[in-house]
Each structure stands twice: as structure tokens, then as C-alpha cells.
Point group: C2
Chain length 719, copies 2
């Protein structure tokens, strides 16, 4: 690996001796608003947009007006009037029932199906109407209109109505108050708590703009491994300053609640949720917060998991804890998001079983303003997991889906891995809980069960990196999360084609390469890291790089060997009836797909089965050969990605081109590292040869085991 | 304080609801190269600069060429030819004795006094010549030429020759390998060790450009509290990638050497500098480093200080340790910078005495490639300290001056405090060691003692903040350090007038306000923090905010009370013959200025004397009254700074204007906090009233003592 590193870095340095100070650094994300290059399209727009009038004077309408002014002046290359001029062609934005400017031009039929936060964009021969039931919908309509222009879409005759299908679309920042970010690979936290509330970083505003533009309407700014200090008066005031920035963008601020805060901050001797003094402390604290932040969203809670305090410390269950907090914020309209990512102090036979076992019995006992937040899979954001068995298994409880946008297990800050494919896989998975078609998306939307709340959370990949996400392509993951949170039915093709065009270029070949890269990289990554259902074989602690040999962590289920169970006979975790029987937590129809090792889809084979090295699997190869083939295929694809990227240099601005190329070079090296380290290790059990025609590992297994990375990013320091 | 905070933050939010994405964010520092607004000046330049030709093809000449191309196209608004055209008016850059393009136009008289790294800029009627003895001088000449244009100076008839007066002009980064920065207030480390050597951040290049433009020719990229890991092969390769970026900019890379590295990394049982295996380990390590970095600068070492390992652990002295390392790098031309900031495990009567006592006896015993790096004062970068007694006291040893650019004790990331005044105070101080006129500057230049080496170090204030220094005015401190390192004789007025014009505006009133702010803020800060020679009364650990009451730190000399010694009778540290007699470490003429409390200049009164509360001091006031007056004067001046800044809004781009205003608002609040907290505390000893006409403290002493800041920035986390 060392030699490869050396070579690449010399090449890259050589092309870097000059620099343009104003080169594109990616800070503007997908809101670039550069002048539209196609003259005829721009001319059409100029003809149709002689003015843009936002009918309303609130802070949110001011924000919409300013975004339109900024966007249009950039895209069209000239300032567009903001005054209404009835005779002329123009764009009107107004609230249904409130704006005389729009009423005459829309019929009840046009508005059919329009709901809160949704919008209608409708063009007639002499004007374009953007209508909504509320200001938030109008703001989203304004951003959508700008996006249509960024995409160079024709607006003549347009008639589009959009509603969000999920109510709470929320980012989760695992940001610590010391500025570090747990599992953050894009620098450090963008929240400068020390200088808040007085210093308002321009980033806070641009963060809000970016989120509003993709429909995100909530943000949890503190880590789920929570710190009670956030509830101290001066920190509440700091949080309020952030909420003030976010409010006109329709983004509610949420905080994580450390369950033991009444003791640590309040000086109580207990945090028992049934204790009256504890209840009273939280009620008082909620009142204080709502005084500073009238539209405070509520609490996100990680309790009784990985050492965090929780109601079980007092012999209470999750419902008792969640309801107590929910009651504190209920008078103010707040909600509680209670995480189902729990595992107890004692290690069970199979960690995958725990959340289901703890939560299913509580279905129906949560108060109406509680949602249970469930990770996509039962372990922990592995490159590929089957869906979490809780989806569909708690029909009386609204379940939020928690996705990880930051790539803790998918190459961290340097690998290009388009996550929309993975998100879609989860959303589209059929739980069969209410018969065929009970997809995770349907469960989360919750409409069939009549849930009042619905929600989706994404663990943010945002940091102080100039381009927000460290890797330019990480922006696509943030964008994709927003798009899927708004409409879980939107296609990956649409997401990535739009993103490529508004973020990079309209040049067709380049768009094709970018979309291909984003669409195929997920499968490639699964192949070079954890093919065939392998999971949790990364470095301990920092989770960087391959380490299937990890076997000395304090808890058995923190070790790689716990998960892959490789031995002389074979490899894989038997979760069928002959093993942990985790499969039993799924519906019979779901189970049927995976129960038999012979017919189990290869992507989950080793998740559910321990399979002999020489067993011929459904692909027609022996397990060992298939493992080798997949590792090599994944690593090989990354090399192709780099070449494809190099082929579109002329279509990409130079700074971003080089930065992506450097990351692809790192990814190429690391994909080989994963391949060679894992195959070397597994070979020590299988004692079989790497099939003919495939490269041998570059180094010995001892070499790979000797590598150490004490300062790999994304770990929470112990202050 | 809370109420004031609230008010400011509402005002600032209100003016912030819009944003310009391409607003000036300060990233370009003083190398803005915006088009020159004055048409006539620009026309003159266009006439005189029809082309610019750099006669040379090396990487360094390529860098000069590119900088000139970028700078001129920006300043003049059009691309300038890089081809020589003898008949036309143009600019030639060439090495003396090597370039036929310059030889005919310079006489030996023109070159008189020109030395290595220096340059000559000379305009005749038909051409401008930039000449130097070496490429580095030519690069500096190119930057100087661009600066002349940025300053709108006439280049007709110009004839200027400049040489650096100090040989090693070095930044010290207290950056940890985990990305944190000890005493960093501008975000986190700009070195992304994890992604090096492959990912070359654009910042590395722009960092090199900025430093080269002010003559800085070395950088120590790792913390003096050192980590042996930097010497592991993969980290050496990462460091080499940085060195590759810096090389064409004439900047050498240095590393900090952890004295115990032979044990921690090499597996030896000792780090004894007289042990042959230890010597051999360092020799081998030096050879490895020089193989990767042929122009590696050498080591900076903090040993036997604040818990760091060192030669005294083995009964050896500093010379033994320094010489052993110096011998390892000597074959390759490297140097060792050995810090004199030491204090032993046992607390002495007066910490100020220690460095002198340990180092003076070693004068003459250091090898020729060793410099001793001495902080400006004997304690630790306090707002105001008398000069360090070592200056002039080790005539046989080259002493480097260590200045702190990062504002650990001067308001950290938020206060505007122009440090050039403080740097000048140190440089101009007369040690009288070789008679009158033996200033610190002369000692550091070392020419009179015939030293082969000379050096000056500045602890960097640079971080991941978009504008590099967090506070826009922090850029002025970086710039001032570079200017004074190049020429310790340059005036503060010149430094700040130039900086204001090239960084902000040529508008005279605005320049005046900026220069005033930078010139007066240092004295204001000393007054609101530590007037009359007080020192080390800040918060423990993070050093944020006032805390004269600190009395429970593990070492006595880590406590505030150790330094101010306030009691019922008075306040101050008696360092005369009746006390610690630290004054005895200075020359008789120096001593004479401070020995008598009655005539001691007020700025050092309490540094050298314990003075009664009711004693009438040289200003004509009682000590208590003078203390109150100075605290109030300092805080009051900050309020005036804010008002002055608001008065030039029309001359400053909006983003930087608002950001500076927010920081000035924080500074105003914190100046009052310092004033009120310190006076409340000292009043508990003096039991005297705050003089009539001065505001009473806003809160009780208990309130100020109750404040805690567990996540104040700049602390090194314990990973």
C-alpha cells in the first residue's frame, strides 16, 4: 500500500502547483445559481419571469423572497423585480385563501390533495402561480421553482403539486459540545457553542437554506450520547440563537436529553421517571426551554444503550421513560423521539435480537407524542443489513426510520458511496406484516395505521469542511436523504440525475458518469468490505479499515469474530432455527426468503447462515470462490470509477475535479486494502487458494494486523 | 452579562436574514488581488507592466510566475503577458549572475548590501528589474512587487533593496495529530493527517503562499507537547507530502521531537542522550526523515517542562539533550531549536527564575546547530511581561525569540487585540547587556556576536476557520509577525496601515479606524485584564476569562493567587531583593528602572513589587484607585472601538463587517466581565470603594466565581 500511496501523491502534487483563489470549493452545495449557459432556455425564463412577487411579510416570506432574488439574479444574470405587475408575465407566490393575487388563477381542482407543507406550481399563458396552504409550503414551492430552473426544465404549462409524505424530516447531529463529532468525517462540528449566542456564523444560515431547499424541517443539534450541560441556562440561550436562525427556514430545533440530567444538572438524587421530583424537574426544564424557543421541537433520547443512563436503571421500561419526557413537552406541542437502538449490559446470544425483544411488548403503551426511532437494520448501520424486525411489528406505535448519512461503516470521509441505493433498499423492503406490499416506507409513513406522527431521521454527515461533507460526493447523500424523506417513492435515477446537474454540470456524458458512480458505488463498497452478508468486521473503536480479526474487545458483541464466526468449516452467523433464530422476529413471508441457505439471496447469506467454505451457493460457485470474486469485483470497480472520473475532467471545475480524484485514489487503495486484508484473514480458516486470475494479497496477514490508526477521525475524545 | 448577551444577539440576528453566497469571507487574507479601483493608478501600472518575465524554470520560479500572473490579472483586470519583449515596458525577474535579462540594467552599486533571500526592485524609464542572489529572494521580490501594487504605490523610479534581518522566521503550530490545537481558537488543525499524503488540501497551498508573501521560511507543524507517532514511517510520509507543497514557497518543514521517542516508538529501554543506542536511534531516524524530506529543517524540542520527558530524567542537562539531537541532523544541515520554557517538577519560590538558572550556566556548551528558543517574558505569554532575563545573558548561544500569535491570554478567538505593539515592546526593550542599546532585537539578530544562526518563532493562530484566524483581525497578528520577523525595525504604523489597505480598504477614514483599533487595543486589553503588572489571573486550564481567585490547582504556580499575592495590605509579587529577587537576573541598568516601587513604571509595578492598597503610586493615585481606573479605562475603550467600527460600515464588505462587529460585541461584554470580576475579587481584600464616577460591578463576586466553561476552546483533549 505504501508504494501506491507514494505514487499517487506525487502525481497529484504535480498538478497542484497553481491555484485559483476563487475556484469552486463546493460550499454552495446544490444551490449554486450560476448563470444558465443555454441562451435559449434563459431567454424563455426571462420572458416568463419578469417579476416575482411573494405575497406576505413574515420572516419566512422574507426568506423566500431573498432566496428567489438571489437565485434568479444568479441564474438569469440580472436582477428580477419583486413588485407585482399584473399586466406583465411574472410569478406570484401566495397562501390559499389569503392572497388575492393567486386566488383568481387556481381552481379547487388544482388544489385537490394539497396538504400542509405542500405546494402547487402552475403556469398559465401569462403568469406562474405558486400556491400553498401555509408559509412553509410556499417556501418549499419557492425552492422547487428555483430547482426547476437550475434543471433547465420548461416551466411553460407546468402544473405540479407536491406534498411531503413524512411529517418530521430530521437531521441528527452527533455533535459534542466540545466541537468534536462522533462519527464525523468532515472536520468538526459546525456549531460554535463557545461563541454563541452572539456570534452567528454565516454557515448557520446557509445550513438552514440548504436543508429547507430539500424539505428537511427539523434538526437535532446535539449528540445522542448526550450531555446534560445543554440544559444549563446559558446553553439554552445558545440553542435559542440557533433556533432563531432556523425558524424562518421552517426548521425546528430539537435537543438530545440525557436521562440523568435531573441528577447531573438538577442535583436530584435520582432520575427515576416515576419520581415526582424528576417529573417536575423535566416539566420545569421544558417550560424554560419553550420560553427561550417557543417552537422547540422536543427531545431525542438514547437510553439504556451503550452505557447511557435510562429508565431501566430504576426498574422502569422504555415507555415509562419516554412518556415522562413526552408529558413534559406535550403542553407546548413537543415530541419525544425514543431510540430503539438499545442493547443491555449483558451480552446476549445475538445482539440483533434485543431491540425487538425490548420494544414489541411495549406497543400501545407510548403516549401520543412519542415516536420510536429505529435504525434501518438490527445491528448498527452496517454496509448492508436486512431491515430491522421492528418495522411492522409495532402497529400501535409510530416508528421513525433512522438512516446514517455519515459513512461510519461505508468508507467514512474518503469513499464515494452513493447511499440512495441503500436507503431505497430499506424503504422498498416488504415486511409482509400487513400482507404483501407492507414496505418499510409504508410503515414509516404510517397513514394506513392512522398515526398522527410520522418521521425519518438521518445522522448528518456535515462538518466544518469547506464543502460541508469533506468528500464532494457526500453532498449527494445529504441531498438524497432530503429527497427520500420528502417522498420515499422518488427514484434513485431522479435524485442523482438532478443532483449531478445542479451540483456539477449539465454536460450529458459527465452527468452519466456521476450518476453511474453514485448508483453503482454502494454495491461495489459492499463487495470490497462485507460481501455476502458479512458485517461488523471493521477496525475497533474508530471503525476505520478492515479488521475481521478483532477478538479482544471488552464485550463479545464488539468483536468482529462474534459476527463472522469464521472457522475451519465455514463462515457466517446462523440466525435460523438452528442458531439464534433472529429470523423468527420477522413475518413468515419475510422469513421464507432467507430460511434456506441454498435459496437465500447471496447478499444476506452469511447474515443468516453459517456456510461451509466449499459449499456451492446459489451463484453456482463455492462460497470461498464467490467471496474472493466479490471482493475483487468491488475493488476493481473503484479503479474503474477513478478512470471514468478522469474521463470527464473537461466538464468539471478544476478544484472539485482534483479533490474528487484524490478521494477516488484513496478509495482505490483502501478498497484493495479491505479486499486483501479480509481475504488473507479468511484464508487462514478456509486454507483454500485465491481462484486463478485474481490478484494475490499484496502483503501478509501479519502486516495488515500490524496497522494501527490511533487518530482515525470520528471518535469522541474523552475530555 | 446574560442580559447584554441577549440584547446583542437579537440585534445581530435581525440584520442577518439574508446572505450573499459569494460575499467576502476573509479566506484570501492580504492576498486579495481585487481590481485596483483608482483608474489613473491602474492606467499607470498597465503602462509600466506590459509583461512580466521570470527568468528561470524551477518549481520556485514557477510559483513566482503563477503568483504574478494571478495577482496582476486580478489587480489590473486583464491577463499580463509572461513573455519577455525587450522593446516594450515590462518587469524582469532574474538571479544576479545568471540572468542576461537583468544584468545590463543593474550596477554593482545597486546590489551593494544584497544578501541571501533579499531582493532589489529597481525601475528605469523602460523596465522594472527584480533581482536577487537566489530564488528565494526572487520569490520574495515578486510578492513585494505585488504588495506595492496592492498599496497603490508608484513604481516609477522605485529603487528598493530589502534583506531579512533574521535567518529563521518560523511558525510554531501547537497542532496535535488528532486534529485539535492546543491554544487554538480558530477551529481545529488545518493538517488533515488522516488523509495525507494523498489528499492535498487547497489550504496547504494557500497557507504556503500566505507565509511566503510575508517572508516566513519555516513551519513546525506539530505541537511542542510532542507525539512520537510523527516519526512512524507512515507519518513521515505524510509530513513529506506537506514538505513537497511548502518547498517551492521556500518554507522548510520542522517537526517537534518527543524526547522519549526512542522508547515509545523504538522500543528502547531508555532515552538517555548519552546512551549509544539512543544516539544511534536518532541518527537513523534523522536519516529516514531526510530521505523523505531532503530539505527537512530540524527539530523543535520542549523537554523537562510541564511533564514532558527530557535529558534531566537521566541526570543530563539541556545541552546534552540538545547536542545529541543536533548531531543527528547536522550531517544533513538540520538545526535544533531547544526551548527555554522549562520548569521543574518541584515548585520553586518564583517560577520566573527557573529558565535563567538552568540555561545561563550552559552558555557555550551547545553545538553550532542549536538555538535556544526563549519566550518574550519569563512566565508564559502573559498580556504584559518584562522581557525574559535570558536575552543578552547567553552571549555564546544564539537565542531565538518565541512570540505567541495565538491569543491564549489576550482574549483568545474573539477579542481584537493588535499584537504588533506588544511584539515591538519586546523587540525594543533594552537589556543593557552590552551597554545601552542592546535591545532584544539586536540579541536575536545576533550579528554583533557573530552567531551563524538567528531565529524568531511565532506560535500560530491558524485553524480551520474559513478566514484562517477565526477573528478577521487575527490575520493582522499573523501578518505583523511576518513583517517583524523579516525586519524587527519596521514600525507598527507601517505594518497596520499596509495591512488595513491590502486586507480591507483604501478608504482613508476606514484605514484610520482600523489602524487605531489595532494600535490601541493592546493597551486596552492589558488594562481590562491585567493592569499595572498583574499577571496569570485567568481561568485555570482553558485560560478563558477572569479568575484571580484560582487557588486549588495541583502546583502552586498554576494558581492565580501565587502571582497576584493580594492580601489585606496590598497586592503584587515582590521580585526585588526583599522578595524572590528575580530582578537580579537582569543587568544593573535594567534593574535600576524597576527596583524602586515609587519610581517603577506602572506597567510593571505589581510584577516586581507588592504594593499597599492605599500607597500613592507614580501616577499620583492610590494603588487601588489606579487599579479601578485602569480596569474601567480598558473596558471603556472597547466600547469605543465598537462604535468606531460601526462608523465605517459603508467602507467594509458586509460579511466581514458583521463578523467583526459580533466579535467586538463579545469583546465589549467580556472586557466588562474581566473588569467587574477582578475588581469584585480584589475589593474583597482592599475593602475600599470603587472610586466615584466608575460603574459598580454588575454581579456579585460569587456570581463570577460560579461561572464555568467546561468546553472553552483550545484545550488538548485526553484521547
Amino acid at each position: 500500500m505504501d508504494m501506491i500511496l507514494k505514487k499517487h501523491h506525487l502525481i497529484l502534487i504535480a498538478s497542484f502547483t497553481c491555484c485559483q483563489l476563487l475556484a469552486d470549493d463546493g460550499y454552495r452545495l446544490w444551490l449554486r445559481y450560476d448563470r444558465i449557459e443555454n441562451e435559449s432556455i434563459r431567454a424563455d425564463y426571462m420572458e416568463a419571469i419578469r417579476f416575482v412577487y411573494v405575497d406576505g411579510e413574515s420572516p419566512m416570506m422574507a426568506v423566500a423572497r431573498k432566496e428567489l432574488a438571489m437565485g434568479l439574479s444568479g441564474l438569469l444574470g440580472q436582477t428580477i423585480s419583486q413588485k407585482p405587475a399584473d399586466a406583465d408575465r411574472g410569478v406570484y407566490l401566495g397562501i390559499v385563501g389569503k392572497s388575492g393575487y393567486i386566488e383568481p388563477f387556481i381552481s379547487p381542482g388544482n388544489l385537490k390533495g394539497l396538504r400542509s407543507e405542500g405546494f402547487l406550481i402552475k403556469a398559465t399563458s401569462d403568469r406562474t402561480i405558486i400556491a400553498a396552504l401555509d408559509e412553509q409550503g410556499l417556501l418549499y414551492g419557492a425552492f422547487h421553482f428555483l430547482k426547476l430552473l437550475q434543471l433547465n426544465k420548461s416551466i411553460a404549462g407546468i402544473s405540479t403539486l407536491e406534498n411531503p409524505r413524512i411529517q418530521h424530516r430530521i437531521l441528527n447531529h452527533w455533535d459534542n459540545l466540545d466541537g468534536t463529532v462522533e462519527r464525523g468525517y468532515a472536520g468538526f462540528s459546525i456549531w460554535n457553542w463557545h461563541q454563541l449566542p452572539t456570534y452567528i456564523d454565516q454557515r448557520y444560515i446557509d445550513y438552514a437554506r440548504a436543508n429547507a431547499s430539500i424539505g428537511i424541517n427539523g434538526t437535532v443539534v446535539t449528540n445522542v450520547n448526550a450531555n446534560a450541560l445543554i440544559f444549563r441556562a446559558d446553553y439554552v440561550e445558545k440553542a435559542a440563537a440557533l433556533a432563531d436562525v432556523f425558524r424562518p427556514y421552517g426548521i425546528k430545533l430539537y435537543l438530545t436529553a440525557r436521562f440523568s440530567a435531573p441528577m447531573e444538572l438538577g442535583g436530584l438524587s435520582t432520575a427515576d421517571p416515576e419520581d415526582e421530583a424528576v417529573k417536575s424537574w423535566w416539566q420545569q426544564k421544558a417550560a424554560e426551554i419553550y420560553k427561550a424557543i417557543p417552537d422547540f421541537g422536543g427531545f431525542l433520547v438514547k437510553a439504556n444503550s451503550e452505557g447511557q443512563p435510562g429508565p431501566q436503571d430504576y426498574g422502569r421500561d422504555h415507555a415509562s421513560g419516554a412518556n415522562m419526557l413526552a408529558d413534559a413537552v406535550a403542553p407546548f406541542g413537543g415530541i419525544v423521539m425514543w431510540r430503539a437502538f438499545v442493547y443491555s449490559e449483558e451480552t446476549p446470544e445475538d445482539r440483533a435480537l434485543q431491540a425487538y425483544n425490548e420494544f414489541v411488548p411495549l406497543d400501545g403503551s407510548f403516549h401520543p407524542n412519542v415516536m420510536i426511532q429505529v435504525k434501518n437494520g438490527p445491528i448498527d448501520f452496517q454496509p448492508r443489513e436486512p431491515v430491522h424486525p421492528l418495522f411492522g411489528a409495532m402497529p400501535k406505535t409510530p416508528l421513525m426510520l433512522e438512516l446514517q448519512i455519515t459513512k461510519e461503516y461505508l468508507g467514512q470521509g474518503t469513499h464515494v458511496v452513493g447511499l440512495a441505493i441503500m436507503f431505497r433498499e430499506t424503504l422498498d423492503t416488504d415486511t409482509f406484516r400487513d400482507g404483501k406490499g407492507t414496505t418499510v416506507a409504508k410503515v414509516v409513513e404510517g397513514t394506513e395505521k392512522g398515526h398522527q406522527l410520522s418521521g425519518i431521521a438521518g445522522v448528518a454527515n456535515i462538518g466544518t469542511a469547506r464543502n460541508w461533507t469533506g468528500n464532494h460526493f457526500g453532498q449527494a447523500d445529504w441531498y438524497a436523504f432530503g429527497q427520500l424523506a420528502w417522498d420515499p417513492g422518488v427514484s434513485v435515477e431522479t435524485i442523482y440525475t438532478d443532483w449531478a446537474q445542479i451540483t456539477f454540470t449539465h454536460e450529458p456524458k459527465a452527468v452519466q458518469v456521476i450518476v453511474n458512480l453514485l448508483t453503482r458505488s454502494y454495491e461495489a463498497c459492499v463487495n470490497y468490505m462485507t460481501p455476502l452478508g458479512l458485517h461488523h468486521i471493521m477496525g475497533a473503536g474508530h471503525h476505520y479499515g478492515p479488521a475481521p480479526w478483532v477478538d479482544s474487545q471488552s464485550r463479545p458483541d464488539w468483536n468482529s469474530v462474534y459476527y463472522h464466526k469464521a472457522d475451519d468449516r465455514g463462515i457466517g452467523f446462523d440466525r435460523t432455527g438452528t442458531g439464534s433464530n433472529a429470523l423468527l422476529q420477522y413475518s413468515p413471508e419475510f422469513r421464507a426468503q432467507y430460511e434456506d441457505a441454498l435459496s437465500c439471496p447471496p447478499e444476506f447469506l452469511l447474515w443468516f447462515h453459517h456456510v461451509g467454505w466449499e459449499t456451492v451457493i446459489s451463484t453456482g460457485n463455492t462460497l470461498w470462490d464467490e467471496l474472493c470474486i466479490r471482493y475483487h469485483k468491488g475493488a476493481g470497480e473503484v479503479a474503474a470509477f477513478r478512470q471514468q472520473w478522469q474521463g470527464i475532467e473537461s466538464s468539471i471545475d478544476s478544484e472539485r475535479f482534483k479533490e474528487v480524484l484524490m478521494h477516488l485514489s484513496i478509495q482505490e487503495m483502501e478498497a484493495k486494502w479491505w479486499r486483501d486484508a479480509c481475504l488473507s484473514y479468511f484464508q487462514s480458516f478456509s486454507r483454500m487458494e485465491i481462484p486463478n486470475g485474481l490478484e494475490q494479497p499484496e502483503h501478509s496477514l501479519d502486516y495488515y494486523k500490524s496497522l494501527s490508526f490511533p487518530y482515525a477521525p470520528g471518535i469522541r475524545p474523552r475530555w
